[in-house]
Symmetry: D2
Subunit: 334 residues, 4 copies
């Protein structure tokens, strides 16, 4: 960390240096004609950059080391491969996860699970607890939804991933293969801490207004408590463009792969909120180097009225998977 | 709610109308030369607009009624005044809340409470549980911090407001006067539901990437469970401007006051993250019609190193309050 | 266009209807219990939606028809193919444009032109007039730069595209094959009008803060004056994410192809501002259905100090093109 | 400027230092255990930060000096006061500018000019050339509009400000008191250069997606050519919030006043696009320390159909001015 000291305050720098040393850090001074620079040497990940910036004598602060350690590729150069019920995510694997927005009935979830497995999906997704903007909207089947997911797993062999809403639900997720943290919970720090003490693989979605660094810090929260089985998921950020619900940030994929060793996948369904964009955005994600996709698929056109705007049908999913498989070897994936 | 039907799909509209009626709504049709419009009549707040938008035959959807009811000024024209330990928020009251970012020691919190009361603050804020981006940063004193806040209340008489992180902490907040929901928890729906079953006044901060409508829907979550004692708090939204941590959205103040009967206050400290902007933004908030302010104040310059970049000192707070008091009668506040 | 009339103002709707009819439009009324809806029938593209929204009696307005006509795919279902010096852009063509950020010397531009042609580029880009944030930065070689581009065209046969800064420069572009409108000029309406009277193909970049609809309206400006040879170019929008200069909005590609018949290409170099992201974002753009790419390439590592952060070297370009060619048949491109 | 050198590339730093020195700058090295820091000493405003960032051996770059000089308060501590036809803007003056969106007729502009002067406006605004998103919308009266503005000035004595669209119009503005650069032209660098060679006061609006630093760099463009009579104008930035057309960024006011000596005013009308928000946002701007306001006022309710959603009536303007005058002494303005 580098501190630029205000030119007219450089006489007061002694007290600051004393305080820095009291935090167990060393200091390197560099006095130019117009600028005094203080470099902090040691582990600065515990130093509060906002706090330092607020000091009267400090003009500005620049972090040199990233504030995350366990998630940092610098200290862990090889790709992490996360295993979920026998399925590998990360490295040169490409992992297809599919399923409905919400679990509704046994027939629905088993039917979709069979269909997406036939097309090449290796994991099943489905919402049991649903975060909804409106208190009057359907909030999911809850515990019963998880039971139906397990039933679909029993029938198809696909490991299951579903979203948790708060840590008091953790017991219900004992027999779930992977726990999803939704975008709105990405900075629910108490939930992250609790998941850090679990040994379940975690699918950590990026928050709608969160920077890549904040996202990695949320992974760091989980890892700092001991659980390193994390898969990141880009699902769009908030921008001014009104035609899509969110703006899928595919630049984040190569950046995340550079900054961390953790796998990162893409959710093209929630990103745009438009079923007809799922195919092009899925292929784009493959081109960007994503480690996988999580796609919403519904099965039953007559009941289409109960599916979200972002779901595609099994036959559309099948067509997308065909193209993905053709592109994968070109981008160095299995 | 109005549905625009695709021109080449209008023959299929019958099935949609049937489904709408099965939801307990009535329908009004209007067929133009190029456009067929279906108006939904009845309580459409339970209708999922994304779901309807996703239908093949629907070109677009427009909500006419706001999706919130209990928070809606149309159904409750008079200002709600929320009482917190004898202090009134809303109507023609202007409510000053002040205190440190984090509770640190008895001396600190009691000292600040005394100072801000002397300047005109009528409530005390202070963080016991702190949401921090980094797992390595100070996370607050927890339960002990709440005890210290109560001690400061005992000494000064100021009601206290402090932030909750998850609903399993609710018992710890039994003797707190007002519970704050932080920006990152604005869409922690399980927390909102739990608070809806409490009878505590709630300070509901706007999320960093949340629209005004989503903010009111979060208020509606709490109100739908029975608790109508809600004060909204604007604290800045995420934009591309890097010089401020967030961009304070003061247009939200008059808009919110138009859309809802609930009081709304402003947090100028977190909005910009810069202590030197607290004074101008406080006066701006008063001009915009805010029902109050919640300001971070620290007391002890020698310990400034442990305060955030956004805190001001008691003497600065005192100067701001002087100007606020002079402006209040001009904008119709007591 | 649909107007929702305020419930308590519906008695005053007569005057509004009279005014609408005076604009040459017809009206369809629909009175519900709580809502009066006025539908405007006819060509509403000239109606000012902000003006209507501002009327006291109007609660809200919804446009049904897009405000662009000549650019609208509804009225022109087939893909437009723009020809630039024998090169086709649009339809099932995929067009590779490459070249340096700025034209510097004859050797530089001819050398790069030869290299990118060898790899598969079919057009040459290069800046002669450079829009720079700082008045102290290099502003380009100007007219001399255009001469050097022509020389590179003479040697390699590649048609050239270069950016115009204002319409008084138009004479200098007489012998340029395609004129680029930069992101900062996307709403320089006088420039758009002047280009509409030219017969040159136009490369219209999306503005940093412009919606897709505004972008198509800028195309409409040019088309409304008679020039329909327009190629759109997505190059990133402004968001809160600091790690990339802009956020490439690849969802815009399939959306634009749905809304308009004009071709759309992607600039992965300016989008992120990072050379190491050019390869993944190029492949992502192909997956998203882009009609081409415009990529910055510099040739001379010893002079790398004078190239931008976003340029790649010819050998890197060659490797990217190899992968693109393998993906193109999968996405239905030649 | 500080360069952080990649740890594994520090052996190659010699060539970089040579190049920096060839640019007329000096260098200060600081080698830590894990980090090598190169400080650039001298005038770094000509150094291209993107160029340096792109070098293989550079991990990151931090500018210490602002890239603007003539606009920088560090080198010009006292407030600049810009005089426009006898009216002062800046310092402890508060300047009220008002008038219609577009000039329509002699009666309209003279009538409004008289009304706003009576309420306390000291300058008249009005659009002759209108930047419109749609080519089919009214584009302004052009040269005739400027003549009508002059007529209103003749009658009322109010100096006039109106928007220029391109520099070839400059002759038409010879007898205009102040030239406005609209938000969409903030980075029309050729226009800025031309205005720099004029001696007219310039009203420079902030672009919808431009940072404060970019805004000051655009002022620097004008100043670098010799014209230092610049007044900045905040008018809202693009965000995700759909209820307002833009989000007024009032934090920019105190920040701009800290960074530059130039005056800054606020346009509350274009910021939100909603007439009913003009009053609260005007008072908020005064609270934030603005040097003035530019407000849209229309005069003729029967013709209200031709005014924008953001205009208020003279009697509303009068009420706002009354409140502003009461607040001004509290914030230290005349």
């Amino acid at each position: 960390m580098i501190l630029i000291i205000k030119n007219d305050k450089k006489d007061e720098v002694g007290k600051l240096i004393q305080w820095i040393k009291s935090q167990g850090l060393d200091v390197h001074m560099s006095e130019g004609q117009n600028t005094t620079i203080v470099g902090l040497i040691g582990d600065t990940s515990r130093v509060d950059i906002d706090l330092i910036s607020s000091l009267d004598i400090v003009e500005s602060v620049k972090r040199i080391q990233e504030p995350y350690k366990k998630a940092n590729r610098k200290f862990h150069p090889n790709d992490t491969v996360v295993e979920v019920g026998g399925v590998k995510i990360g490295g040169d694997n490409f992992t297809l996860i599919a399923g409905p927005c919400s679990v509704e009935t046994r027939d629905q979830i088993v039917g979709i699970a069979r269909a997406v497995r036939a097309s090449g999906a290796v994991m099943l997704r489905g919402g049991a607890f649903k975060p909804r903007t409106s208190p009057y909207a359907f909030q999911g089947l809850g515990a019963e939804g998880i039971e139906l997911l397990k039933e679909a797993r029993r029938v198809t062999g696909l490991p299951i991933v579903t979203e948790i809403m708060n840590f008091s639900q953790l017991d219900l997720f004992n027999d779930v293969d992977m726990i999803q943290v939704g975008a709105r919970n990405m900075q629910n720090f108490d939930l992250l801490k609790a998941l850090g003490q679990s040994d379940k693989p975690i699918l950590l979605k990026r928050g709608l207004a969160n920077t890549i660094e904040e996202w990695l810090m949320s992974a760091e929260y989980i890892m700092s408590k001991g659980n390193e089985k994390i898969v990141l998921c880009e699902r769009g950020i908030r921008t001014f463009e009104p035609l899509t619900r969110n703006t899928l940030d595919l630049s984040a994929i190569p950046l995340v792969k550079e900054l961390t060793h953790l796998p990162v996948i893409v959710d093209p369904s929630h990103a745009s909120g438009l079923a007809r964009l799922v195919a092009p955005l899925s292929l784009a994600a493959v081109g960007a180097g994503s480690d996988g996709l999580i796609i919403e698929v519904h099965n039953d056109p007559p009941h289409a009225l109960c599916d979200g705007a972002q779901s595609i049908r099994p036959e559309q999913f099948d067509a997308i998977v065909g193209k993905i498989k053709a592109i994968l070897p070109i981008v160095g994936k299995k």
